[in-house]
C-alpha cells in the first residue's frame, strides 16, 4: 500500500476516534507539518505550539477530509499552514525569530527550481510551474511557504516592492492560463 492510501486509511480510523491510528498518523506526518509551521513562524517554540493545535484540529476534523480535495498530506499541511498564518497575522512576524531554523529554499540568485517533489503530488502544477521564469517560480513558492506579503517578499529577494509584486502577478497569470489548458 502506498503512503497516500495508508494516510487516508489512518484518517478514516482517526475519524472513528482511534487513538492508535492517530499516533501512527502523527509519527508519519509531523516532520512535514512541523516544517510547514517553522517556515511560516521562524520560531521553534511557537511552531511547536501551532503544530499541537493543528493536530488537535485534525483529530476533531478527520471526518471532513475528502480525497477529492487533494492528498491527505496536502490537506493536513494546509490545516497547519492556515493556523500558522493566522498566528503571524495576529502577532506579526518577529524579526528576531530564529532564522537559522529555516533553510530558505531558494536564494535570490538561484536558477530554475527543482520541482520533482511537487510533481509527485501534482504533476500538472509542476509542469505549469516549470514554464515560469525562475523569478516567478521563486516568488510564488516563497510567498506560499513562508506566508510572505508582497512587502516581505520584496525584502527577502532584496528587490523593490513592485518587482516581487509583478513577478507574482505575471506568474499567477501564466499559471492560470496553463492550468486551464
Amino acid at each position: 500500500m502506498g503512503q497516500r492510501d495508508e494516510l487516508i486509511d489512518l484518517l478514516v480510523s482517526v475519524s472513528h476516534g482511534d487513538q492508535k491510528a492517530f499516533e501512527r498518523l502523527y509519527r508519519q506526518t509531523s516532520p512535514r507539518l512541523f516544517s510547514v509551521c517553522l517556515h511560516v513562524l521562524y520560531q521553534r517554540e511557537l511552531a511547536e505550539e501551532v503544530l499541537q493545535e493543528a493536530y488537535v484540529r485534525i483529530w476533531h476534523r478527520a471526518a471532513d477530509y475528502h480525497p477529492g480535495h487533494g492528498s491527505a498530506m496536502a490537506w493536513m499541511c494546509s490545516i497547519a499552514r492556515h493556523r500558522a498564518i493566522d498566528v503571524v497575522r495576529q502577532r506579526g512576524r518577529r524579526p528576531d525569530g530564529d532564522d537559522g531554523l529555516v533553510e530558505l529554499l531558494v536564494s535570490a540568485d538561484d536558477g530554475p527550481m527543482d520541482l520533482s517533489a511537487v510533481a509527485q503530488e501534482n504533476r500538472r502544477l509542476a509542469d505549469c510551474m516549470e514554464r515560469l521564469s525562475p523569478d516567478q517560480q521563486r516568488s510564488i513558492v516563497l510567498s506560499f511557504l513562508h506566508g510572505f506579503t508582497h512587502a516581505e517578499l520584496g525584502r527577502q529577494l532584496k528587490r523593490p516592492l513592485g518587482t516581487g509584486k509583478s513577478w507574482i502577478r505575471r506568474g499567477l497569470e501564466s499559471l492560470r492560463r496553463c492550468l486551464a489548458e
Partner: protein, 246 residues
C-alpha cells in the same frame, strides 16, 4: 459573467490562497466568498494546486512533548465524558470503597475486583490499608480494561500505584508513569516505573500535588528497562488518564 471578470476572479482567488492578498482587500474578498459559490470553488481549486508545494519543504522532527501535549488535549476535551464514564464504572465501587474505608477494611485492589452487586454481605478479609484518596486516576485501555490505578493522598503527600491488570512488557522494557501538568504544552514529569504486580507507594512533591489539584493528567510510556534514559518520554505513549478529585 464575461471572460474578463472570470479571469480577474481567478487571479484574485490565486492571490488569496497564496496569501499575498492582505488587509481590506482580503476582508472584502472573504465577504464575497461567503455569498458566491463560484468564488469558493475557485479558491478550493487553487488550494488543491498550491498545497502540493508543501512537498518542497525539508522534514523536521518536533520534540516529543508536542505529542504528549496533543494527547493530553484530546483527552482533556473528552474529559467530562471520560470522567462520567469512569465515575459510572466505579461509582458504586467508590461508594463501597468509602464505606469500607470508614470501616477500615479493604484496600485499593479489592475495590476494583468487587462488583457492587456481587458484594457479599460481609467482605472477606483482605489487605488492610485504609485508602483515603483525595485524587484518583484509572489507567485504562481498550475495552475500558483497567490496568493500573493511582490514588493520591494530599496530607501524606503519597501516591499509591496499584497494578490491577498490568499491560505486558517485553523483557527489556518497562512502563514509566508521567505526570502531565494542566498546561497548554505540558512538560511531563517522571513518577517512576509502574509495578508489574502488587502496589508501590511514592512520595509526591508540592509541585506534583499542585498539578493534581489543578486537574493534570497521567500518562504511561514504554521505555527501555530501568526507565527513560533522557528524563523525557522516549517510547510510545500507551495510556493517558485524567486526574479526578475524589
Amino acid at each position: 459573467m464575461n471572460d474578463r471578470t472570470q479571469k480577474l476572479d481567478d487571479e484574485l482567488a490565486a492571490a488569496y490562497v497564496l496569501g499575498t492578498m492582505t488587509g481590506r482587500t482580503r476582508l472584502r474578498f472573504e465577504r464575497r466568498m461567503q455569498r458566491e459559490q463560484e468564488l469558493r470553488e475557485r479558491v478550493l481549486g487553487w488550494q488543491r494546486h498550491f498545497d502540493a508545494l508543501h512537498a518542497l519543504l525539508p522534514e523536521r522532527r518536533p520534540t516529543e512533548r508536542v505529542w504528549l501535549g496533543i494527547l493530553a488535549r484530546i483527552n482533556m476535551a473528552g474529559r467530562s465524558e471520560a470522567e462520567v464514564g469512569i465515575r459510572e464504572k466505579l461509582g458504586a465501587s467508590i461508594r463501597v470503597w468509602r464505606t469500607l474505608a470508614l470501616a477500615g477494611a479493604v484496600g485499593v485492589a479489592a475495590l476494583l475486583v468487587f462488583q457492587p452487586m456481587m458484594m457479599p454481605p460481609d467482605p472477606p478479609p483482605a489487605p488492610v490499608e485504609v485508602p483515603s484518596a483525595d485524587y484518583l486516576a484509572v489507567l485504562s485501555g481498550e475495552g475500558g480494561r483497567q490496568h493500573w490505578m493511582l490514588a493520591a493522598q494530599e496530607a501524606e503527600q503519597r501516591l499509591r500505584i496499584t497494578a490491577v491488570e498490568p499491560l505486558e512488557t517485553l523483557p527489556d522494557q518497562d512502563y514509566e508513569l508521567w505526570l502531565l501538568p494542566p498546561e497548554e504544552d505540558p512538560v511531563p514529569r517522571s513518577m517512576g516505573l509502574l509495578p508489574r504486580v502488587g502496589d508501590r507507594t511514592i512520595s509526591l512533591a508540592e509541585e506534583d500535588l499542585q498539578d493534581l489539584r489543578q486537574a493534570g493528567a497521567f500518562a504511561v510510556s514504554i521505555e527501555p528497562e530501568g526507565g527513560s534514559p533522557t528524563g523525557a518520554p522516549t517510547g510510545e505513549v500507551v495510556l493517558v488518564a485524567p486526574v479526578l478529585p475524589f
